[in-house]
Amino acid sequence: MSENAISGLQQRLSAGAFAVTAECGPPRGSNLGVIQQKGELLKGVVDAVNVTDNQTAIVRMSSIAACVHLLHLGLEPVMQMVTRDRNRIALQSDILGAYSLGIRNILCLSGDHQSFGSQPDALNVFDIDSMNLLRAVKNMRDDGKDMSGFELNEAPRMFIGAAANPFADPFEYRVIRLAKKIGAGADFIQTQCVYNRERFKEWIRLAREEGLTEKVYILAGVTPLKSAGMARYMNSKVAGMDVPEAVIQRMAGVPKQEAAQEGIKICLETIAELRETKGVHGVHIMAIEWEQAVGEIVSAAGLK
């Protein structure tokens, strides 16, 4: 981790604060108003806002453009970038462009497979994987060179993030993969949503044992559930998601009109536990199309 903070998020994490990030999914259209609306709900509430890159392989306003709109609103964006849609030439070019526009945080991902999206007939790229992208951004920043070794006319200084899913299989490999991502260049990690707290704690324990939590900032992902149906759907239909039966039952056990509140309650309990977990440096609140909930969660959890 660099000594001089590149971004506000890095500054906050390096100061030892428990950081909070949220998510902003760009619209399926060119409507700037959607970004403004979401931005206003998140402004002053979180340290940085992830902007997804055509998530679930559905065409949306580009991550770079939406990041710039957030910057104009006074928010700090984390630009998500997937290797599904662009080859290494386009990825590097967009990173240079993003930096020139004022974007300072990047989250390197491989991306949801196009077969889950609205255009499953598309060709994917996957010229490089997320690990290669991490290394490329790190080399651009630290050595000032692109992937060909060409010396850049001003290096993009990015605070580099990666994703980790403690709930995917094979479990024993998940910590090795985390170590590999740190080695490749990750400064911070944002994890898949935590519902199975036991498994998450086991993962972070293994990461601690390997000394990884000293080398990288880990922001644990949380998503407030809106209904029992959503809990069931996420468990069975969303790849790499683990919602324990007890959580589903708890959501199903309250009257429908109180389900959302129960979801927020579960989320708050999870955040409280994560704050007490050694090696967790913050939370990443992914309130999917429910940005209004973020302010409530952050203030009820006493995070701001």
Binding site: R84, R88, S110, G111, H113, S115, F116, N124, F126, D127, I128, D129, S130, M131, N132, R135, A136, M147, A163, A164, N165, A168, D169, P170, Y173, I176, R177, A179, K180, G183, A184, Q192, A239, G240
Partner: protein
Amino acid sequence: MIVGEQKSLAEIKDLVMPYDKILVLGCGTCVKTCFAGGEDETAVLASALRLAFKTEGRSVRVSEFTVERQCEDEFIQEASQAVKENDCVLSLACGAGVQAIARRFGKTVVLPGVNTTFIGVLEKQGLFTEECAGCGDCKLAIFGAVCPVTRCAKKLLNGPCGGSQNGKCEVNPDTDCAWQLIIHRLETLGQLDNLRTYIPPKDWRTSNAGGPRKLVREDHII
């Protein structure tokens, strides 16, 4: 082997519709092994076409012939006479065979009767699986002889994505996660340390990304 699947009779009928004298040309190598275009499939398809045209009251002549390999000129020549006697050739070879036939018989219409799908293995009777993408730079040694370029839906070289669950791929629950297979193999071989190695971006120049490839064997040129 190269695995292919015969096109539907409806599609084949549409392709050959403008012609009155049709040669169904089989290939006795890969497509024979995967039951798409060998001698038997050629005979069955020719009969089906004859029956279909007869039912429609059309007088179309459907002939059949099978060569050992449609990708080698030496074998292709055996079909010369049959080709001459027809308006078009419906090749049941892979895409390479179709093109080799077209190259040999420059003025003849050559149509594909098979969809060439992949380089694969016969996993069990009736089941073929894709195993090789022909990328031209084989790295199977580090992956415990399981190819992530071909068998991972995201071509990931540095480990499984977050969608691997219970050993299956998120894209298709009937497909094994290539990385689960790699890890299992490396574990069995005592080579788990390979997983910690950073694999750099792949050089795609040896693949089709570098344009159509040629293999020159000087020692075999006469």
